[in-house]
Every structure is written in structure tokens, then in C-alpha cells.
């Protein structure tokens, strides 16, 4: 391959347009290298941001052929091998665009702050003496601290793409989850409440956030952990928790999930009718069969035993 083509979705503050740039291929380079090459040798007006060029600052995330990546760490050759000589570059999804590949983080910072992402230390600790924590407890939060706020998860989140009124960016749940899991923190409920109020039970489990995170953070797992913790804390007076309890009920009774009765149990009859379009979408994708009433699976006693054991372990 001699020439590489970047087809870039550009925006000048008023209008959007596509522009193609081609440059000579060099082996072992990154997506960011290509962008710098264009800016420095062909078109200084092409705008993007990058700071660390070593995958720790989170500045350079962009979409390449529909997937969010860190431009600075993504090997060009691997992409070219997969997609051919032309790559399509776009700004992150689910962010307002300022110019070209530059997106606006300011509204995201406001939303992040709502989840109170800061340590509320337990009473026995002080600023003078610091805190105590075992290495095992530290490891409980080590994965979440890897988040560099690059926005890749938010870009690809299927739930967030449907609107951000009732859902946060996945990294917001990770930040909240970090403090709930931190043994030094004494006020888990404070971190739980904001995410409970916005979306904790609405994640559609698509796992895009886990798949796209360049730092091996797993927001979907943090969401699951936050849900478990909210139920443990008795914060069950909300639709999501009722859904989960219905889910647990179904599994105990039949070993299978009954999607139809579950919608009724959690939403009430009227609301579940309004969810029809969503259900139809799922139906089209083969994810929901309203005419299928599952029979108990074999070994249902085993399933019931597991659910019971899990309940007892929690109590």
C-alpha cells in the first residue's frame, strides 16, 4: 500500500462537509501520526486535539470507521489491513462537535459532577493522618481508576445514543462506582442516588462500553455492581430494582426469563404499552419473542438453589 486516504467529517462551526486527504504510507505508525502529517504538510486548518501521545490523557479519541479509538495508540497498519486504504474519521458520537474532530467536554463535566465523583471519607480518617486501606481493598478500585475520560464509551453507548435525558455517559457510572467500591468512602448512598435517578437501571447491556474502552475499564460491570449495591442498600423503590426483582422472580419460578410478564411487572400495564415501539425494535432484532412463554428449563431446582444461595449470601 503506497497511499493512505483519510476521509474526514469536518465541521467549521457552521457547516459540515467531508474532505479526503491522502499521504504516503509508512509502516508502524498510528492514526494520530496520520492526522499530524496532514496538519503539518497539507492542511493546517484540520483540527483535532492530542496531548500525551501515549494513551494516558484521553484527549485524542476519534471515531475511525464507526468505532471510537485513541488516535495516538491505534496502529494504522492494523486498520488498513482490516478496512483497506481508506479510513473514515469522525468526531466522537454523543458529543457536541466544536470543530472537525474536536468535541465539547464542558457539558460532560457538568453531568459528571452530578454523580458526586469525589471521596467522602469515613469518619475515622482525617486530612492530617490520611486513610487506611488494605491492598486487597485498593485492588477493588484499581480498574476504575484507569479511566482517562476519553469519551470512547460514551461515543458508542447504545443507550446514550437514544438520548441523554435519562442516561449518563458510561464513564459517569464508573466514577460513581469507584467511590461506592472504595473502602475509604463512608457515604455510598450519596454516590448511588444520582445514578439511580438517572439511568442506573436503563443500561441495555450492549457491552459496547466495555468493548471500546482503551483502558480496560468496564463501565457495564460498574453498572452491575452499582445495581447490586443499591439493592443491598434497600434502594428498591424504583423501576429498575423492581425489574431486577421481577427478573429474579422469573428465574426462581421457571429458570427462564419471561420478557412479557416482566414488562408488566416493572412498568404497570399502561406504561408498558408505551414501550411498544422499543419492544418492536427488539423484536425485529430477534431479541424478544412476545409469543413465546418459556417452559421451565431442565434442572430448575438447581437454578432455584443458586438463586436462594445468592440471596442468603447477600443477607
Amino acid at each position: 500500500m503506497e497511499q493512505v486516504v483519510y476521509r474526514i467529517r469536518r465541521f467549521d462551526g457552521e457547516k459540515e462537509f467531508w474532505q479526503e486527504y491522502s499521504f504516503a504510507h509508512e509502516p508502524n505508525k498510528t492514526v494520530l501520526w496520520g492526522l499530524l502529517k496532514i496538519k503539518e504538510t497539507a492542511d493546517p486548518s484540520l483540527s483535532f486535539v492530542a496531548a500525551c501521545r501515549s494513551a494516558v490523557c484521553g484527549a485524542c479519541a476519534v471515531r475511525v470507521n464507526g468505532e471510537a479509538v485513541l488516535a495516538c495508540e491505534t496502529p494504522l497498519d492494523a486498520l488498513l489491513g482490516r478496512f483497506g486504504a481508506t479510513l473514515v474519521l469522525e468526531p466522537l458520537g454523543n458529543f457536541p462537535v466544536i470543530r472537525d474532530l474536536v468535541v465539547d467536554w464542558e457539558p460532560k463535566a457538568v453531568r459528571l459532577a452530578e454523580a458526586k465523583p469525589w471521596l467522602m471519607p469515613r469518619e475515622e480518617f482525617s486530612a492530617e493522618a490520611g486513610c487506611r486501606q488494605t491492598q486487597a481493598e485498593f485492588k477493588m478500585i484499581n480498574a476504575q481508576t484507569n479511566c482517562i475520560l476519553c469519551g470512547s464509551c460514551a461515543s458508542e453507548c447504545n443507550k446514550l445514543s437514544m438520548g441523554d435525558d435519562d442516561f449518563y455517559e458510561p464513564f459517569v457510572y464508573t466514577k460513581a462506582g469507584k467511590f461506592v467500591a472504595d473502602s475509604r468512602d463512608g457515604l455510598a448512598a450519596e454516590h448511588l442516588r444520582p445514578v439511580l435517578e438517572r439511568g442506573l437501571w436503563k443500561c441495555v447491556h450492549c457491552q459496547e462500553c466495555v468493548a471500546k474502552c482503551p483502558k480496560r475499564v468496564a463501565p457495564a460491570e460498574d453498572i452491575a455492581a452499582l445495581r447490586r449495591e443499591s439493592i443491598r442498600q434497600g434502594l428498591t423503590d424504583n423501576q429498575g430494582a423492581r425489574h431486577a426483582l421481577a427478573f429474579a422472580g422469573d428465574i426462581t419460578n421457571t429458570g427462564r426469563l419471561n420478557e412479557t410478564t416482566m414488562a408488566v411487572k416493572t412498568d404497570g400495564l399502561l406504561k408498558s404499552a408505551t414501550r411498544l415501539p422499543f419492544a418492536l425494535r427488539l423484536l425485529r432484532r430477534g431479541k424478544l419473542n412476545p409469543f413465546h412463554f418459556p417452559a421451565p428449563v431442565e434442572g430448575i431446582d438447581g437454578v432455584r438453589a443458586i438463586v436462594k444461595a445468592a440471596k442468603e449470601a447477600k443477607e
Binding site: D12, G13, N28, K39, E40, T41, D43, P44, S45, S47, F48, V49, A50, A51, C52, R53, S54, A55, V56, C57, G58, A59, E73, P75, I98, R99, D100, V102, W105, E106, A109, L112, A113, K116, P117, W118, L119, P121, F125, S126, A127, E128, A129, G130, C131, R132, Q133, T134, Q135, E137, F138, I141, N142, T145, N146, C147, I148, L149, K175, D182
Partner: protein, 570 residues
């Protein structure tokens, strides 16, 4: 016009720590200006750790030892009163950020774990796996969110505005709108980080480390102190300059030359790979020069071998380093040694701080902290782990200093000087954007970096540096006519880079001037034509001051209290 009591410039650890301190005091309006989203700072790149005498790993460690290690590490150019103050505060600063939420790796008792680091007589470096700076930066950001610190994101400091009565505030480029905006402030804290990008691709620093704050203070008449003191980190990746943390040596990595020899045995037989950075950098360069490296010329390297540490330890203690080596050098350290060579890492010199307790400078109301500042505690060579401690300790001091000053200052500064400065910059930037022809910003920048690396790098010589000085002057003239290449008002990063290049040229000129005139070798400043340290003539700080358009040179004695200069041996 925006008005603040305290305006902090730069959102690295130093800036956010300062803003937090001023912001939690109550009753003061505090702004935090930054040219990129706050968590994109160099602080987040620090992997290794932060120093303080907690005595967790070694109960016999003392502040006195930390002081001595720092003084010795600085090759006696650090001010000993400031160093004593710093070492005395570091442990408290670390406990405090533990309380703020920094997740530290722990020891068996649940205390903060500590490990060995280069140039230190006890294991006193606290860490969080190998992302210490990242977690400190994010914790500071979380605290700023908690306290509702007002962030002015995507705004680049251009200049300070000073009138007959003193400091009025700053003018900045609002990158989003392309307009120059004046911001009035009673007190300003400059915390804009280092200047490593003078060496462009030969640095561990992010693209943003372009001496903006240093140059702005310099233009306002504040001296640059010890600008010639530039640290090179021994272990940058051969291909990109990206840092392999000191932790890789601290955890027991070996350095080999092309003869398979652990060559440090000839340079620092006791400390071996754990000797200070300057010694290790010079050792590697010497090996390469004398033909014992791999590869040729600019592409030469030696090997950093971690394999004997074993898979488990590498995965547990050095996962970030492993990731970087795989991603950027296509080498998995579990299986093969990593090609490395030195890379410009830290700017010891900077804005001349005259009162270390507050970060105060010669201009009332102007404070500086972090890598942008020169206090000086790092002297001619900074110890690993001392910079993160520096930004936490002195970031807080500057926050307190600026808040105290703003409280005591009744005067509401006049806006006249601000308006004039803003109009000046508006005109200058508009002209630069309109200009066609001329060299590109990138071409001037690359030639600057090449001259600095080859002639004012790890080894220095008077004649070569004189050439470098001429090159910098030539490039500065070219810069006046260069093309930005983009005349948009919306997020014009080419314009940002243009401003940055001007600052790099200013800083580079000061570096060369300081380096040419320091006719001795000390710490990172290695003169081949003057190989010995000269305490009789050079136990003093270089001060470069702008008078009119002239860079003027003067000196100030180093503060020596307890430790008389002695030969530095490891």
C-alpha cells in the same frame, strides 16, 4: 470582562492544587484557566511516584535524609532553606491527598506503600501501581468539581498585563471563539508546566509543554532562573521518546550495551541502574558515542531488560510500562528487552520564585508553582518522585499565597493595561492569520528541536552552543514572518501552535544563554569543555531577564545552610 480575585493558569497538579486551596477558603472568586480540558495535563503522565518521608517501608527514614538526598541530587544548586521546607511538608501533603481520594498502593498494614527510586537513601516513593500522576490529577479534578472551581477551559494564556500600580490580570486566547480576552485578577498563579517541547520529538513531555507561562512571565519582566538546567530521562523509548518510568529501574530492570554488559558497573558501581538520572543518561550516551550501542546516529539505543523480573511482577507492578512498550515499540518486555535512549524530561529552570513559602515572585500578586516555576528545590537535577511532591506542596502554598494576597488587596485593578494588551495581541494574531507565504510553524519547530538536541542536549560545548544561539535567532526572525495557515476563528489549533512556538523560541534562547555562560558541569548541565563543577564561580543561580528586547544575564547565590558542597558520587 471576567474578573477574579485569584486566577490560576494551568490545570496540572500544581494549578488544580492551588485553585482548590484558594477556592475552599470561601469569599474569594477563583478561576482556573487551561488551554485544554483539565485532565489532559503532563501530571497525568507521571507513572513512578511521589516522595515523602512516611516511614512506612523504612521506619528509619528521616526528613533530614530526604533533604540531603535532594540537595545532593540537585548537585548543590538547590536552595537548602526551600528544600528543608519542602521535605518537611511532603509527607503531610501525601496524607492529605490520600484523604482527598488518591488511591495509593498499600503495604501489609494498610498504609501507603513506598518503594525505592533513583538517588534516594530510603524507600520513600509512594505510588499507585504505575499511574501515580494520573490518579493524583484525576483526584484533584474531582476535588475541583466538588468545590465548584470555575474552569475556563480552552483558553490559552498569552501575556500578563501590568500597569504602573502592578498586576492587572492576564490576556488569553479564547480558543473556541478565536478572540483575545482580557481577564482581570488581583492575584495570578502561573502553573503552566514545563518546556520539554523545545526538543519536540526528543521529549517525554506532552504537546502542551511549551513554556507558555515561563515566556509570559519573562515578557512581564520576571527573570527566568536556571533555564539551562534541563533534565534528560535515561529511558525514553528509542522510536518516540515516550517515557519508560523510572519504576522500570526501581523494580530491578537492567541496562545492557551491545556487548551484553551491564555497563552501569563502570559509572555507578554501587547504585548501578538506580543512580540519578543525569548519571544514567550520560552513561547511556557515552556508551552510544563510544560505539557500544545498537543502531546508528539519531536511531541508536541501548537495551532495558525486565525479563528476569518475571511475568507476574511485570504484570502487577509495571503493566503501564508493558502496554507502552508493546504499543509504541512493538516489544513485549516479558519476552524481549526494550530499546531505549534518553529523552528530555523535565525543566528545572523556570519562573523565578523569590518566596518559597508562597510561590511569590518579584511582581506583587504574581505567584508561580510546579514545573513552570523555579523555587529552586531541584537545582541542577530533579530526583524522581520529587516533582509530584513539589506540585502538591508548592501548589498548595501558591494557592494560600495568592488567596492571602487577594484578600489583603483592596485595589480593584484598572482595566486600561488589559485592554491595551488585548488589542495588541488581537492585532498580532490577526496579522499572523492573514499572512501568506513564509515558513510553516512545523518547519521552524523541527529545526529548533534539532539544533537544541544536537547542540544544547545532554553533552554541551561552548562552540556548538554559540551556533545554536545563532540558529535560534535566525528562527526567531523567520518566525516573525511565518504562516499560521488557518484563519478560522473557531478552535484554531494552528494558531495555538503558532503562539506556542513563539514561547519555545523565547525559552530556548534563555536556555542557550544560561548554558553558554555556565562554564562548569553540574547535574544535568554537562560541559565537555568544562567537565568539573566549579563551586567558586558557579554556586549561584542564573537569572535571565528581558530588558527592552535584550536578554540580560545576572546571578544570585545559592542558599547553603547545612550541607557544604561535596563531590557527588553514587
Amino acid at each position: 470582562m471576567q474578573i477574579f480575585d485569584v486566577l490560576v493558569i494551568g490545570s496540572g497538579g500544581a494549578g488544580m492544587r492551588a485553585a482548590l486551596e484558594a477556592g475552599t477558603r470561601g469569599g474569594l472568586s477563583v478561576g482556573l484557566m487551561t488551554k485544554m480540558f483539565p485532565t489532559r495535563s503532563a501530571t497525568g503522565m507521571a507513572q513512578g511516584g511521589i516522595n515523602g518521608v512516611l516511614g512506612n517501608a523504612d521506619p528509619t527514614d528521616t526528613v533530614a535524609k530526604h533533604i540531603f538526598d535532594t540537595v545532593k541530587g540537585s548537585d548543590y544548586l538547590g536552595d537548602q532553606d526551600a528544600i528543608a521546607f519542602f521535605c518537611g511538608q511532603a509527607a503531610a501533603a501525601i496524607r492529605e491527598i490520600d484523604y482527598y481520594g488518591v488511591p495509593f498502593s498499600r503495604d501489609a498494614k494498610g498504609q501507603i506503600a513506598q518503594r525505592n527510586f533513583g538517588g534516594q537513601s530510603a524507600p520513600r516513593t509512594c505510588f499507585s501501581a504505575d499511574k501515580t500522576g494520573h490518579v493524583i490529577l484525576h483526584t484533584m479534578y474531582e476535588q475541583c468539581l466538588k468545590h465548584g472551581v470555575k474552569m475556563l477551559t480552552d483558553r490559552q494564556l498569552l501575556d500578563l498585563a501590568v500597569d504602573g500600580d502592578g498586576l492587572c490580570g492576564v490576556v488569553a486566547l479564547d480558543i473556541r471563539t478565536g478572540r483575545v480576552v482580557p481577564v482581570k485578577a488581583k492575584a495570578v498563579v502561573v502553573a503552566t508546566g514545563g518546556a520539554g517541547r523545545m526538543y519536540w520529538s526528543r521529549t517525554t513531555n506532552p504537546f502542551t509543554s511549551t513554556a507558555d507561562g515561563m515566556a509570559a512571565c519573562f515578557r512581564a519582566g520576571i527573570p527566568l532562573k536556571d533555564p539551562e538546567m534541563v533534565q534528560f530521562h535515561p529511558t525514553g523509548l528509542a522510536g518516540t521518546g515516550i517515557l519508560m518510568s523510572e519504576a522500570s529501574r526501581a523494580e530491578g530492570g537492567y541496562l545492557y550495551n551491545n556487548a551484553g554488559e551491564r555497563f552501569m558497573v563502570r559509572y555507578a558501581p554501587e547504585k548501578m541502574e538506580l543512580a540519578t538520572r543525569d548519571l544514567v543518561s550520560q552513561a547511556i550516551e557515552t556508551e552510544i558515542r563510544e560505539g557500544r550501542g545498537f543502531g546508528e546516529g539519531m536511531n541508536a539505543y541501548v537495551l532495558l531488560d525486565l525479563r528476569h523480573l518475571g511475568r507476574e511482577k511485570i504484570l502487577e507492578r509495571l503493566p503501564g510500562i508493558r502496554d507502552l512498550a508493546i504499543t509504541f515499540e512493538q516489544v513485549d518486555p516479558i519476552e524481549a528487552p526494550i530499546p531505549i535512549r534518553p529523552s528530555c524530561h523535565y525543566t528545572m529552570g523556570g519562573v523565578d520564585v523569590t518566596d518559597f513559602r508562597t510561590g511569590g515572585t518579584a511582581l506583587a500578586g504574581l505567584f508561580a508553582a510546579g514545573e513552570a516555576a523555579c523555587v529552586s528545590i531541584h537545582g541542577a537535577n530533579r530526583l524522581g518522585g520529587n516533582s509530584l511532591a513539589d506540585i502538591m506542596v508548592f501548589g498548595k502554598c501558591a494557592g494560600v499565597g495568592a488567596a492571602d494576597y487577594a484578600e489583603a488587596q483592596g485595589r480593584e485593578a484598572g482595566g486600561g493595561a488589559l485592554e491595551t494588551k488585548a488589542a495588541e495581541w488581537e492585532a498580532r494574531l490577526a496579522a499572523a492569520m492573514a499572512r501568506g507565504g513564509g515558513s510553516s510553524v512545523a518547519s521552524i519547530r523541527d529545526r529548533l528541536a534539532e539544533a537544541m538536541w544536537n547542540k544544547v542536549g545532554i553533552f554541551r560545548r561552548g562552540a556548538e552552543m554559540a551556533e545554536a544561539a545563532a540558529i535560534v535567532d535566525g528562527l526567531t526572525a523567520e518566525y516573525e514572518r511565518c504562516a499560521v495557515g488557518d484563519d478560522s476563528r473557531v478552535f484554531n489549533t494552528a494558531l495555538v501552535n503558532y503562539v506556542e512556538l513563539g514561547n519555545l523560541l523565547t525559552m530556548a534562547k534563555a536556555v542557550v544563554l544560561g548554558a553558554v555562560n555556565r562554564t562548569e558541569s553540574r547535574g544535568c548541565h554537562l560541559r565537555e569543555d568544562y567537565p568539573a563543577r566549579d563551586d567558586v564561580n558557579f554556586l549561584k543561580h542564573t537569572l535571565v531577564t528581558l530588558t527592552g528586547s535584550q536578554y540580560e544575564l545576572s546571578y544570585r547565590p545559592v542558599v547553603v545552610t547545612e550541607h557544604q558542597p561535596a563531590e557527588r558520587r553514587y
